[in-house]
């Protein structure tokens, strides 16, 4: 089986004006970095892969995940998670419930608790489970957002400028954390960024639009 995320002759246009053309394959654990100026269609491509293309845009081509065409699937069935520049932790749920949100319902309650605790310990946030997300620092929230995605067990991850709002010191640590975890979990990742340092840290193929 052809493992990984395949973007096959994908072409995006807005109001019949061509915007982006791409043919790429991301192997499990690899990161493909897309760089380009604002308005070049990077984030729109992520929306397309997620299954949420804005109405003003049109797209052709195929998106395959582990060999399966996913374009006909609704977003929640695609098994593709996304990390934005904001952690977007659900503000009405505590940290533990945020982490457990994407766990399959079939996982027993005790095991869910153990998985959440282990995930928190993994990013040095032991005991943070009952905390209010609004009480976390930027770096802590970013780590929780990453672990929430990883716990859901996605087949691919989209990274929409996930480090752009972090301060420089924190940014380096988060880059290592994200890319290491993506590699360890063997998940293909598509990174959209303006920052050359992001691309260098990702270490994979870079496409400039």
């Amino acid at each position: 089986m052809d493992r990984g995320l395949r973007l096959q002759d994908v072409r995006l246009s807005k109001d019949a004006t061509p915007l982006l053309a791409l043919d790429a394959k991301i192997a499990p654990g690899d990161v493909l970095t897309l760089m380009g100026p604002s308005g070049s269609g990077k984030s729109t491509l992520l929306s397309y892969v997620m299954g949420d293309l804005p109405p003003a845009f049109a797209a052709t081509g195929a998106v395959r995940l582990d060999g399966h065409d996913i374009l006909t699937l609704p977003t929640d069935k695609r098994r593709i998670s996304i990390l934005y520049q904001d952690p977007l932790l659900f503000p009405h749920l505590d940290v533990a419930t945020n982490l457990a949100f994407g766990l399959p319902r079939t996982v027993p309650r005790a095991k869910r608790r153990a998985m959440v605790d282990a995930a928190l310990a993994d990013v040095d946030l032991d005991g943070f489970g009952p905390r209010d997300p609004a009480s976390l620092s930027g770096g802590q929230a970013a780590r929780v957002a990453l672990m929430r995605v990883l716990l859901a067990g996605p087949a691919a991850v989209l990274l929409d400028e996930p480090f752009s709002k972090l301060d420089a010191n924190l940014r380096d640590r988060m880059r290592s954390l994200v890319f290491d975890r993506v590699r360890d979990a063997a998940i293909p990742a598509l990174l959209v960024t303006h920052d050359e340092d992001d691309a260098r840290a990702a270490g994979g193929q870079v496409i400039r639009l």
Binding site: P91, H92, F101, A134
Partner: protein, 553 residues
């Protein structure tokens, strides 16, 4: 399941209105009436009070709309962003929640010759008896106009505030001020035109309500002749069934008058725009201090009239003996509450049941529409907006009588179900206006994150969107309950006399003159409308007391 909801909502809004209009119009032309009766339209035209009733309806409607719009504009232009304005802003929700009938009854207690206002000079000047003045129910409709201004001002102010984010008001004002305009003149020249474009429909709603309301006009308006809508209601409720056709014809005349005035209003809008452009070209300013002072004075007067009126209702309900010109009763007494309280509470239960069901239905429809808009990328055009406002733009007397035929046509009779349907028609627009802004402003990236974690759109709605929007959803529910609690004519006509609510009882008591009874019922109606607002404030604060990210304000 969500996809058809916008269509169902459109049908819920437009269907009964159109059915009702036809049901009202046809008897006006003698259709379905026994032979031998005169032409109903001719009977209305021959009614000696028609010219006065029409004049009264038009003048009170237009003056109250112009007055409320002018004060709302002056207060926003002169005070928006200041500490004084924040106080006014905090008062908006409670002022808006006070039902029209209760506000009118309270105002009557204030401005009557024996009311609180005249007791002050009476004490100072040594009057023993109230002055012989026709203040309440004056033939020119001045007290009615004042009551309508006091009640419609918070609504218009809220609508204008809601429209501010869609304009670049602060930037435009700064540019105007940098070009030498004063604060008020700059706001009127640079900001008002775009704000008015946004609130045009709500202004028209106020105009139509001002011309056609029955509850406020019954309490504060003149009796002989009354406004046309009150006269139409009298014909409708008359035991002589032959007068139903006359009522239908009267409703038709009322609708004609409303259409004519709306047409004239749009013509006046163009005239005002031309005058505004001429004013801008002239480079003239405004007496800034005077304009700001006028805006603030009228806003305070208006708010005080409603709040002091409610206080007057409360004091009267607790008064044992209260002679003119004493400012307070000689002794407090719970007699009125023990006498009228149990019945009032029982009717309050029915009122809240109707309001609860109507609001629940409205919330389901509105949330369904907004969620469908989000999921399927639907857009709300100008037509949808007109549809939303349709039940508020067609005079109630022009379609509620016809709507009475709906259950007859379906093989049933008037009663609770029809009353609830009638309330839903009026509750939906307000719930939509209240909830649509926060619902659309919700960061949809949460939905994408959630879908990426494998959550279905339904799970995202129930587990994320609605809990995160708990505060605005509860506020919208409180608005819905307040609107329903205030509905007089729909309950009266669609209940066929079998359904009593706090609104129908309070208005019925107004004619009786038992101030203690009016106090109990008026206060009961106010509390029924206000308590849900209190719950809407307290519940989210309680539920999310440990969630800093969801604490607003």
């Amino acid at each position: 399941m969500l996809r058809p909801l916008p269509l169902i909502t459109a049908l819920v809004l437009a269907g009964p209105v159109l059915f009702g209009v036809f049901g009202t119009i046809l008897p006006a032309f003698g259709v379905g009436q026994p032979a031998g009766q005169g032409a109903p339209l001719a009977q209305v035209i021959a009614w000696p009070g028609l010219a006065s009733a029409l004049r009264l309806s038009v003048t009170t409607g237009v003056l109250s709309t112009v007055g409320a719009l002018a004060i709302a504009t002056l207060i926003l232009a002169g005070w928006h962003g200041t500490a004084s304005f924040r106080v006014i802003e905090r008062l908006l929700s409670p002022l808006l929640a006070v039902p029209h009938a209760a506000a009118a009854l309270g105002l009557a207690f204030l401005i009557a010759p024996s009311g609180w206002v005249l007791r002050v000079p009476a004490l100072a000047l040594g009057w023993d008896v109230p002055p012989d003045l026709l203040i309440l129910q004056d033939p020119w409709g001045l007290s009615l106009t004042a009551g309508l201004i006091a009640k419609e001002l918070p609504f218009l102010l809220l609508m204008m505030l809601a429209s501010l984010p869609q304009t670049q008001a602060p930037a435009c004002l700064r540019v105007a001020q940098s070009l030498g305009a004063g604060r008020v003149a700059g706001w009127l020249k640079a900001v008002f035109p775009s704000i008015y474009t946004q609130v045009r429909l709500p202004v028209m709603v106020v105009l139509v309500y001002g011309m056609t309301n029955v509850d406020v006009a019954t309490i504060l308006g003149p009796n002989t002749p009354p406004t046309l809508s009150v006269q139409v209601t009298r014909w409708m409720m008359d035991p002589d069934l032959a007068l139903r056709a006359t009522a239908a014809a009267g409703a038709l005349v009322q609708m004609g008058a409303v259409i004519a005035v709306l047409f004239l209003w749009t013509w006046a809008e163009r005239g005002a725009a031309r005058l505004g452009r001429r004013w801008i070209w002239s480079g003239l300013g405004l007496p800034e201090r005077l304009s700001r002072a006028l805006g603030l004075t009228f806003a305070i007067l208006s708010a005080t009239a409603v709040l002091a009126g409610i206080a007057a209702l409360a004091v009267w309900s607790l008064a044992a003996r209260w002679q003119f010109p004493a400012l307070l009763p000689e002794a407090p007494s719970l007699r009125a509450w023990t006498r009228f309280g149990p019945e009032m509470l029982s009717v309050a239960g029915d009122t809240l049941l109707i309001a609860g069901v109507a609001t629940l239905v409205a919330l389901i429809l509105v949330i369904g529409c907004l969620e469908a808009e989000h999921r399927f990328g639907l857009t709300t055009g100008q037509r949808a907006l007109w549809l939303l406002y349709l039940p508020l733009l067609i005079p109630q007397v022009a379609f509620l009588p016809g709507l009475q035929f709906l259950p007859v046509w379906a093989g049933a009779g008037p009663g609770l179900t029809l009353v609830i349907l009638g309330h839903v028609i009026f509750v939906v627009p307000y719930v939509f206006l209240s909830l649509s802004g926060p619902f659309r402003a919700w960061d949809t990236r949460y939905a994408k994150v959630s879908a990426g974690l494998g959550a279905s759109p339904d799970r995202t709605l129930w587990r994320l969107r609605l809990p995160m929007l708990l505060a605005p959803a509860l506020t919208a529910a409180a608005v819905g309950v307040a609107v329903s609690v205030g509905q007089y004519l729909p309950t009266l006509l669609l209940g066929g006399g079998r359904v009593s609510t706090l609104a129908t009882e309070a208005v019925a008591l107004a004619a009786g003159g038992d101030r203690r009874a009016i106090g109990v019922w008026g206060l009961g109606q106010t509390l029924a409308a206000l308590l849900p607002f209190a719950a809407a404030l307290l519940l989210p604060a309680l539920v999310y007391r440990n969630r800093r990210g969801l604490r607003h304000g």
